[in-house]
Symmetry: D3
């Protein structure tokens, strides 16, 4: 479980409002349309330019991108990685994730927490091919790497409408201001 339970059928986020809440206020439900519940933004692979240092891109479908997800406790991410590309170690502080590989193959892993009695700092990782899935427990450090020779893509599911992404290269070494000199 993550996210408070919904209290009505849906609560499509009203992103035009300036109020700040735990989550988003809803738009008037009488204006809901079928199109609100359909999301088309994950359809196409990201073009990875030569200058992308990671050789990888993530496209998000969280509540602020797909307002119908607000209060429903679910979100999506699409990953695209060229050969050699990597989604560097990161955490989703508020959600569990399933990675479903739709093209190519990826080396995916997570690291058990340092206080895990039976598996402290243990890496659980393996090759995941198109059509296969990998599950990452809530909040743990994980990564995806394209060790193959063709582009790889995934569709990832998270059980929060705003799961958070602490991308560790940035949170550790790119924080503003710097963590410490």
């Amino acid at each position: 479980a993550a996210d408070p339970d919904p209290l009505q059928d849906f609560c499509i986020a009203d992103l035009s409002q300036k109020s700040f809440l735990n989550g988003y206020p809803c738009k008037d439900p009488t204006t809901a349309k079928a199109e609100d519940f359909i999301f088309k933004g994950l359809k196409d692979a990201s073009i990875i330019s030569d200058e992308n240092p990671w050789g990888a891109a993530a496209t998000l479908a969280f509540a602020r991108h797909w307002p119908a997800l607000n209060t429903l406790g679910v979100a999506l991410v699409r990953l695209d990685l060229i050969p050699g590309g990597v989604i560097a170690p990161h955490t989703h502080n508020l959600a569990t994730e399933i990675v479903f590989v739709t093209a190519g193959e990826l080396y995916i892993g997570f690291v058990a927490n340092s206080d895990d009695v039976s598996a402290p700092n243990k890496l659980f990782a393996g090759m995941v091919k198109a059509g296969e899935a990998f599950v990452i427990p809530r909040g743990l450090v994980h990564f995806q790497m394209n060790k193959g020779t063709i582009n790889a893509s995934t569709i990832n599911f998270l059980n929060s409408h705003n799961p958070g992404i602490s991308f560790l290269p940035l949170t550790l070494f790119g924080a503003q201001p710097a963590v410490d000199p």
Copy 2:
């Protein structure tokens, strides 16, 4: 959202135990392997035989099929539908669902609940093409139909490791014993 929160990194279901709990007991965590976190059972399309009255099949990846999901609050389903195939109206009594279409196109919809003030019994439905997604709020009646001319497939995500499926043609008209004489 749904499911109690996890209290450790993972709790891989031990399906060999005869004890009955809310959820499953875990197997000894020292025996966890990377393979436990990978699921391969959704890779291939179901073959829909001529005798399948619905022209459709669902392949499940709930905690009892993929034990690593136990306590993590997530599950998957793969749908395959031949042209004309239909996944008849059903509910998942314990989860919200996102349908991600991976091949073909589908007519997908849900019906708002009868007590929804702004949209009682209102159908929200539309055509969803490969690469697009559709979200179904927790517990509502919904369906998928292949109105196209080629086979369609989806990968669906649910925010419970055991979301339940009340397939209404069966729960209403095929209950054992019958609902009423």
Copy 3:
């Protein structure tokens, strides 16, 4: 559990506000009166007219009828059924329900979900007399029928302030627009 936890003693719904949230905003708590916590709307049996096709009526006490229930995770319903009357199969997508029979006797049942390993689509039903209670697990299809010779009444409790009602005859066959032509 259903509904997010309360974060103060009470949060009486302010139904006059036009804002839309997950749940309702509260009215100014300094205006709370003892009367807010008392509900009188379930006192009298509904008169079932000859033209009522179901021979039954439901009177609701959800948060929008009884604003003090907002955030408290509880609601009530009263059912009245003439002999032969039926509350047709329906689900509460967000709550478990206890039916407490206050007059007459009813045939009450629920159908286990189609994916229940031990009891797929199994009907659990029986006669429940005045003073007896029947529990319906969260989100499952259930119904009430008056097979007796006198009027029957119940007071039902649900563990959400807005449990939802998918009345299946209407959601399946009366959706607007129709589910499919």
Copy 4:
């Protein structure tokens, strides 16, 4: 709201097991019968003997009395009070309660918590007649008194299968050993 969410249709408590858990283990679900979901123990008024110092009695239907309630997040209590009878101040540490009066009339009230900004230690109380209901927010001190001239009865609903009862005359003055000499 209260109680962890259920992870299957039902988990009827197996009270014969000696194991201790958060909640109860379930009995084998293949042995579930319709009768498990019906409770008859609240049917009759308690006889209040002359020696009952409170002039009142509470009959419980919690998970240990009605095993089908286990994991479902709901419970019942029946109160019977002779004229002058009182259910002295108490709290349910884990649940919100609705009192539904089925006979007679009662003076019912709760006291807002001492840190409630708008209503510290404020009493919200009133007369509640047969057919009327009163809601008591989670964990607050409350009481019921029969100020009428006839016996009164209630059926109370709580949103936990084991809501707890801290009966203040006993917890304060009858604790074993005594709170302080």
Copy 5:
């Protein structure tokens, strides 16, 4: 456990808003400063005047005192007790508490609920010295007494940002209006 889950990194309470919600609205997150996450109000011992009938004082750090706590499900209290001082029996209706003694020593206890099968109304109490901790389960009646000869202080932690305090001498005997004449 308690409080709805957070849906973003933080939601610092905006106490200037007049709207009433379950919890508080957030201030504009772009205005968050490091200082918001630091609280200095528990630093000094309360001066207990001769006229303080309890010989004790509680200083609160709930969400309305420390707005950064809003939605994060945690709060603090500092207690100071002169010799003979007592924090009389009370409950926190929405939270579990850990008392950590920072100076002196205290006699601390809670009373199991009256419906606890194995320990009805049983007192669990003992002397807790500086550097030691005592845990009080959610919602149960508890107290702290300074039976020593020097001033005692504690820092207490609760797992709700607004745990509630039903101080029983006041809720029982000081309610406004009085519980009953």
Copy 6:
């Protein structure tokens, strides 16, 4: 909120049992003693040897160290840091934390998540003196440093009985096997 709600007054972990669950089974509640609810293990400062590369030590009071915490959704940690000592960046994947400084002063900070719209990768950090507190939102990267000239100590509170610790130097660079060759 974190951790499933308790379903009884307490459920003291029975660490002698070999069964694996989400959390721990309880020991027989009739054997509970007042001493179970008192924890003495955080009383003394850790001695930091010259060979400790971090100049810091953490002493835990989670459910496996203090069994009474099981199911109650709370835990403690004590930190000791010599001048120059550091608790390197880490996350608690399942809990929010409050750091209460009991001696010395510390530079404490957390980094907002990389997807935080208003504050991506923003460091919120400051000096926290004895008697002051700092709150770290659930799952975010944070650290503590002793920039002072005397030893510093803290008592930290977390809202889960097993909050997890992903100590990033170890999970990133010390995982077994290594994250990547």
